[in-house]
């Protein structure tokens, strides 16, 4: 299966929340807090929100 590449979309935002189109081609909005990104996209359809980090590789749980 082909992975979905978020690297270009997340390049400019290193923190907070990013809303992208569900085909992962365009950033629609950015906000620091989850509540704020929801307010920005609540009337938009076909949008997905994702947390922005500068590094996803160093995550451990």
């Amino acid at each position: 299966m082909k992975p979905i590449d978020l690297t270009t979309l997340l390049q400019k935002n290193k923190s907070g929340w990013v809303a992208v189109t569900e085909d992962y081609t365009r950033v629609v909005a950015h906000a620091k807090k989850f509540v704020d990104i929801q307010k920005k996209v609540k009337n938009k359809k076909n949008v997905v929100v994702v947390q922005a980090f500068d590094n996803y590789y160093n995550y451990v749980s």
Binding site: P3, I4, F34, V49, D54, N55, Y59, V60
Partner: protein
Amino acid sequence: MKHPYYLAPGYPRMASVPLLRVIYKHQTKRTTPVLALIDSGASVSFAPLDLAVWLGMKVDREKSLDIRGFNNVVTKCYPGTVTIEIDGNDFNVPVYFGGRSDMQCIIGQDPFFDMAKIVFERYEDSFSIERIRQKA
């Protein structure tokens, strides 16, 4: 249903992570789809506290859980039961809300991994989630 892995910014290597579109729901409120991490290494599910605020939920402040991560860093989290929609299926699960807004949305083992068959096939850049019958 099969889902793709996502490539995300990383150092020293680009990260390949099993993210999944999840809609969090509580009563009449719902989020837009959120990319949450499916994390077999997490005991329970987590989300930032302001996600609970958005859903208008009351978290149980009497039953806080100190979540211990790498290096023993502790984050106080509070449970609340939400519905998470995945592939059109609803799952009622407890989620521990806490930390700052940048706390990762995580779907952990208890109880989600009892409700679905989850198979990671990173070598094929995919993972699958299949709802199973609840145990009697």
